[in-house]
C-alpha cells in the first residue's frame, strides 16, 4: 500500500475558473492503488469542483488527469464510469422515483452486456431487441446483477435491505447517502470518490460508515474522500490533502497535516492572530484526536 504501488490517478496542474473566480487553482494529486486520500478544507475551498473535474462532469481550463497512466482529461463521465471511476455527490443525488434496488442497479449499468453493444446504430438496435426479447442469458445476467445489488445493500445491514423496493425519495437523508454509496459500489469501481459521505449522519451512523469505509479500504479499494469530520479523516486516510481557496495548501500523513499551522488556520478558522486562541485550538485538537 502507499507510495510503492502503481499510480492509479494522477492530476497535474488542474485549474478551473467560474466567471473570474478561480475555484481550482493548479492542483496536483497522485493516488496510488489501494490508497485512501482525504481532501479537506473549508467550505468553498474547491474540493467538490476538484471531484467534478476528475469525474468528468466538468472540464478543466488547464491541467491534465490520467487514470492508469492514460490521459482522461476532457473525457465525459459516462466513459470514465466504464473505466472504473465511481463517485457520490455532496448533497446526495439519488434517483428519487426509482426504488433503492433500481438505484443500485444503475450503478451496475456499465457491467451489463447491453453496455458492450457500442456500435453506433446497430448497437442501439441490438440493445432495443435485447430489452424486448429478453433472452435467457439476458435474464440470467439481470438476475445475477440483482442478486449482487442485494448483496451490496446487505453490506449496510438492515438499513437498506428492507427498503429495497421503496422509492428513494422516501428515504431518510442518511439512507440516501448509503444508497449512493451502494450505487457506486455496484459499479465495481477501481477508484471511489466519496463527497462528504457522512453529512447528515448522527454519531452512531457516522461511526458505522467509518467502519464500512475502513472495510472497503482493507479490500484494497482506492478511495478519494472529501470529509468535514476530522476524526474520521484522521482514522481513515493514508494521506490528507488540504485545500483552501482553490489551492492545495498542504499534503501529507494525517498526523503531519494536523499539526501544520496553515491547515489549522484554514480549516478550523481563519487568521486568528490571537496566539492564545490558536493554542487552544491545537490543544483541543490534540485532546480529541489522540
Amino acid at each position: 500500500m502507499g507510495m510503492d504501488g502503481k499510480a492509479l490517478l494522477e492530476v497535474r496542474g488542474l485549474r478551473r475558473e467560474f466567471g473570474g473566480v478561480v475555484a481550482v487553482d493548479g492542483v496536483d494529486l497522485v493516488a496510488y492503488e489501494g490508497e485512501t486520500i482525504s481532501v479537506i478544507g473549508p467550505n468553498g475551498a474547491g474540493k467538490t469542483t476538484l471531484f467534478n473535474l476528475i469525474s468528468g462532469l466538468d472540464q478543466p481550463d488547464a491541467g491534465e488527469i490520467c487514470l492508469d497512466g492514460r490521459p482522461i482529461t476532457g473525457l465525459p463521465p459516462e466513459v470514465l464510469a466504464a473505466r472504473g471511476l465511481a463517485r457520490t455527490f455532496q448533497h446526495g443525488r439519488v434517483f428519487g422515483n426509482l426504488s433503492v434496488l433500481d438505484n443500485v442497479l444503475i450503478g451496475a449499468h456499465t457491467r451489463q452486456s447491453a453496455y458492450r453493444l457500442r456500435a453506433p446504430v446497430v448497437g442501439m438496435a441490438a440493445e432495443l431487441l435485447l430489452a424486448l426479447i429478453q433472452l435467457p442469458a439476458w435474464r440470467a445476467e439481470q438476475r445475477r446483477l440483482r442478486e449482487e445489488a442485494l448483496e451490496v445493500l446487505a453490506l449496510f445491514g438492515d438499513r437498506l435491505l428492507p427498503r429495497a423496493d421503496q422509492p428513494a425519495y422516501s428515504l431518510s437523508y442518511a439512507n440516501r447517502r448509503r444508497t449512493e454509496i451502494a450505487r457506486a459500489l455496484a459499479l465495481r469501481p477501481r477508484i471511489l470518490l466519496l463527497d462528504e459521505p457522512t453529512a447528515g449522519m448522527n454519531p452512531t451512523e457516522t461511526a458505522e460508515l467509518l467502519e464500512f469505509i475502513r472495510a472497503l479500504k482493507q479490500q484494497g479499494l482506492t478511495i478519494l474522500l472529501i470529509e468535514h469530520k476530522l476524526s474520521l479523516v484522521m482514522q481513515l486516510s493514508d494521506r490528507v490533502i488540504v485545500m483552501d481557496d482553490g489551492r492545495k495548501i498542504a499534503e501529507g500523513r494525517p498526523e503531519d497535516v494536523r499539526d501544520d499551522p496553515q491547515v489549522i488556520e484554514a480549516y478550523l478558522g481563519h487568521g486568528r492572530r490571537d496566539p492564545e486562541v490558536t493554542d487552544w485550538k491545537v490543544q483541543s485538537e490534540d485532546r480529541k484526536l489522540h
Binding site: P76, E78, R93, D102, I106, Y169, L187
Partner: protein, 612 residues
C-alpha cells in the same frame, strides 16, 4: 435594375421590421412571465387575441379613436392577466412545472372558445382609423400604420425599460426574476409581483393583438395559436426569459420570415422559422442574447415528474379490462361508441409513445404528431407506390417513423427541459412543412387518397367491429412492447436519466444513446398509430396530423399520469370521450373541456393514476 433590387430590399425590410415589432411585443410578455414565474405561458396567445377583440370593439363598434382604444385594451388585458395568475396558476407554484403549463393550455382553450361564442367564429374586419396615405422614401414607401406600430413598440419598450430600471416595482420584478427567494427576503411580495408580471405581459400581448388586427385588417378567434408560436420562437431566438433578447429575437424573426418568404414563397414561412430556430437552439441553446449566464441550476430532478406513488393496477384488472374491451362489441353494438373507443385506442398509442419519451425518459416532446405523420405517409406510400401488403407496410411505416423521427430529433438531445419541448414543437412543424412542400412524394396539400384498407392475413378489414378489434390489438401490442421495455434495464436507465441526468452520466449512461433509444421506441409506437390511422381513414393530408394533435397527446399523458402506461390509455379514453360527452353542449364544449382540464390540474396535478 439595382434600383429595383434596392427597392425590393427596402420594402421587404420594412415588412419584416413591422411584423418583427409585433413579434417582439408578444415575446417580451412571454419573456417576463418566463423570467418571473419560470413558466411557458400557452395562454399568452389567447390574451393577445382578447386584446385584438377589445381593440376591434372599441374602434369598429364604438368608433373610439386610437388612444382610448389602447387604454381600454391595456385595462382589460391587465385584468385578464391578473385573473389568470390568481385563479389559474398561483396555487400550482409548488407543483412540478408541468402543472401550470397544462393549466395555461386549459385557459387558452377556454378563452379562445369564449371569444368565439361571443363574437362568432367569423373573422371581423378591422380597419385602422389612420389615413391610408403612404410616405415615399426613395422608392420605398411606409404607411402610417407601419410607423404607428414601430412607434408604439418603441414607446412600450422604452416605458418598460424605464419601469424595470427606475421604479421600485420594476426593481422588485427584476429581483424576483433573478432570485425569487432573495427577493422575498427583501420584503417583496412575490405573489403580487407575479400578478403584476402577468398584468404587464398581458398588456403587451393585448397591444400586440390590436396592432396586428389593424395590420392584417381583421381579427378572428383562432389568431392566438400562431401568435403564441411566433412569440416562443422569437423568445428562444433571443434567449428564453431575456427581455432585450425578446426584442431582438422578435425583430430578427420578422426579418428572417419576410426574407424567407421573399426567397421561397409563403408556404415556406414556418419551415424557415423553425429550421432557424432549431439551428439556434443547437448552436446556442441559450439563444443569441441569453448566453451571459448559464441556466439557473435545475432542481435535483430536472424533469417535470413529481414524486408520487402511482396507483398500481393489478395484472388481473388489466386482463379483465382487456377482456371486457374485446367482448364489448358483443354487448354494446353501438358503432358510435365503438368508433370513439377505436379513436381512443389509436390515441392511446400516441399517448403511450409520449409517455415513454416524456414520462419515462423525461424528454418533453411536443412534436409527436410528426411521428404519426411519418408513419401514416410511409405506410400509405409503401402500399400505394410499391404495392406492399398492408401488414408489412404498417410495420415498415413504424420503423421509418422511428428512424426518421429520431434522426430529426437528434439535434435536440443536447437540450434540456423546456427547451426540448419547444424544439420538438419546432421539429413537428418542420415535418409538417416538409410533407406539405414535398409534392412529388406526398402529393402536397392534395394528400393521399384511396389508401388501401387495413388487412389481416390478406383479408381487408372494413367493418367497424373488426377495425375496433384491430386497433385494440395494435394498442395491446404497443402497450406490451412498451411494458416489456419498461421492465427491462432500458426502463430503469430512462427513468434514471429523467430523474438526474448528471448522476446518470456519472454511472456510464450515455444520454444521447438512451434519448435516441427512447425516441426510437416511442417513434415505433407513434408511427404504428399513424400508419393504422392512414389506412383506416383511407385519406390523409398534411392537416390530418396537425400540431395540435401533439398537444392533445401530451395532455392525455399528463392527465393519466406521466410515465404511467395504464395512465396513458386512461388519459386517451378520457380525452377522446370528453368532447363527445360534451357534444350536446355544442358551442360551449371546448370551453368546458378547457375548464375541466384546469380543474384536474388543480386537484390532481400528478395525473389520475399518478406518475411513475
Amino acid at each position: 435594375m439595382p434600383d429595383f433590387a434596392l427597392r425590393t430590399l427596402g420594402d421587404q425590410l420594412i415588412n419584416g421590421l413591422v411584423i418583427g415589432n409585433v413579434y417582439a411585443l408578444i415575446a417580451i410578455g412571454l419573456a417576463l412571465i418566463f423570467g418571473v414565474a419560470n413558466l411557458i405561458n400557452f395562454a399568452h396567445g389567447s390574451v393577445y387575441m382578447v386584446g385584438a377583440y377589445v381593440g376591434w370593439v372599441a374602434v369598429m363598434w364604438l368608433g373610439w379613436p386610437l388612444a382610448p382604444t389602447f387604454v381600454a385594451v391595456a385595462v382589460v388585458c391587465a385584468a385578464l392577466g391578473v385573473l389568470i395568475e390568481r385563479f389559474g396558476l398561483r396555487h400550482l407554484q409548488s407543483q412540478a412545472r408541468i402543472a401550470p403549463l397544462l393549466a395555461t393550455i386549459g385557459i387558452s382553450f377556454a378563452l379562445d372558445q369564449l371569444v368565439q361564442i361571443i363574437f362568432s367564429p367569423n373573422p371581423q374586419a378591422f380597419s385602422s382609423p389612420l389615413p391610408a396615405t403612404r410616405i415615399a422614401l426613395g422608392g420605398v414607401s411606409i404607411g402610417a400604420l407601419d410607423l404607428l406600430i414601430a412607434a408604439i413598440t418603441f414607446a412600450v419598450a422604452a416605458v418598460l425599460f424605464g419601469f424595470l430600471r427606475f421604479t421600485r416595482l420594476g426593481w422588485a420584478l427584476r429581483a424576483t426574476a433573478q432570485d425569487r427567494e432573495a427577493a422575498q427576503q427583501m420584503g417583496v411580495d412575490v405573489d403580487g409581483i407575479n400578478a403584476l408580471t402577468f398584468a404587464v405581459a398581458s398588456v403587451l400581448g393585448g397591444i400586440g393583438g390590436v396592432m396586428i388586427g389593424m395590420y392584417f385588417t381583421s381579427v378572428y378567434p383562432t389568431m392566438s395559436y400562431g401568435a403564441m408560436l411566433k412569440g416562443f420562437a422569437a423568445n428562444l431566438l433571443g434567449g428564453l426569459g431575456s427581455v432585450p433578447g425578446a426584442v431582438v429575437g422578435g425583430l430578427l424573426l420578422g426579418l428572417i420570415e419576410t426574407f424567407g418568404v421573399a426567397l421561397l414563397g409563403s408556404t415556406y414561412r414556418n419551415l424557415f422559422t423553425f429550421v432557424i430556430l432549431i439551428g439556434v437552439l443547437v448552436l446556442r441553446p441559450t439563444g443569441l442574447f441569453g448566453a451571459r449566464r448559464a441556466l439557473p441550476p435545475e432542481p435535483l430532478t430536472g424533469t417535470f415528474v413529481a414524486s408520487s406513488r402511482p396507483v398500481r393496477i393489478p395484472a388481473w384488472l388489466v386482463g379483465a379490462a382487456l377482456v371486457a374491451a374485446i367482448l364489448l362489441p358483443f354487448i354494446a353494438t353501438d358503432p358510435y361508441l365503438l368508433q370513439i373507443l377505436t379513436s381512443a385506442w389509436l390515441f392511446g398509442m400516441l399517448a403511450l409513445s409520449i409517455t415513454l419519451v416524456t414520462g419515462a425518459a423525461g424528454q418533453m416532446s411536443l412534436g409527436q404528431a410528426g411521428f404519426l405523420a411519418i408513419g401514416g405517409y410511409a405506410s400509405a406510400l409503401l402500399t400505394m407506390r410499391l404495392g406492399l401488403p398492408v401488414e408489412a407496410s404498417l410495420l415498415l411505416g413504424a420503423v421509418l417513423a422511428a428512424a426518421l423521427g429520431t434522426l430529426l430529433t437528434w439535434p435536440v438531445f443536447r437540450l434540456r427541459s423546456q427547451y426540448v419541448a419547444l424544439a420538438t414543437l419546432g421539429i413537428g412543424e418542420v415535418i409538417n412543412q416538409i410533407i406539405l412542400n414535398w409534392e412529388d412524394l406526398t402529393n402536397g396539400p392534395l394528400g393521399l387518397s384511396n389508401i388501401p384498407p387495413l388487412t389481416f392475413l390478406g383479408l381487408p378489414i372494413t367493418q367497424n367491429v373488426p377495425i375496433y378489434w384491430a386497433a385494440l390489438a395494435v394498442l395491446a401490442i404497443a402497450a406490451l412492447f412498451q411494458w416489456r421495455l419498461m421492465q427491462s434495464h432500458l426502463g430503469r436507465t430512462w427513468r434514471a436519466m429523467r430523474e438526474d441526468d448528471v448522476a446518470a452520466r456519472a454511472f456510464g449512461i450515455s444520454l444521447n444513446r438512451y434519448k435516441a433509444l427512447a425516441f426510437i421506441a416511442s417513434g415505433l409506437v407513434a408511427g404504428l398509430s399513424g400508419a393504422f390511422t392512414a389506412h383506416m381513414y383511407s385519406y390523409i393530408n398534411n392537416e390530418t396530423f396537425a400540431a395540435t394533435t401533439s398537444i392533445l397527446g401530451l395532455t392525455m399523458v399528463i392527465l393519466g399520469g406521466m410515465g404511467n402506461l395504464a395512465g396513458a390509455v386512461v388519459g386517451a379514453i378520457a380525452l377522446t370521450a370528453l368532447p363527445e360527452v360534451f357534444r350536446p353542449l355544442a358551442d360551449a364544449r371546448y370551453l368546458i373541456y378547457g375548464i375541466v382540464l384546469l380543474l384536474l390540474v388543480r386537484f390532481r396535478p400528478q395525473g389520475l393514476l399518478g406518475t411513475v
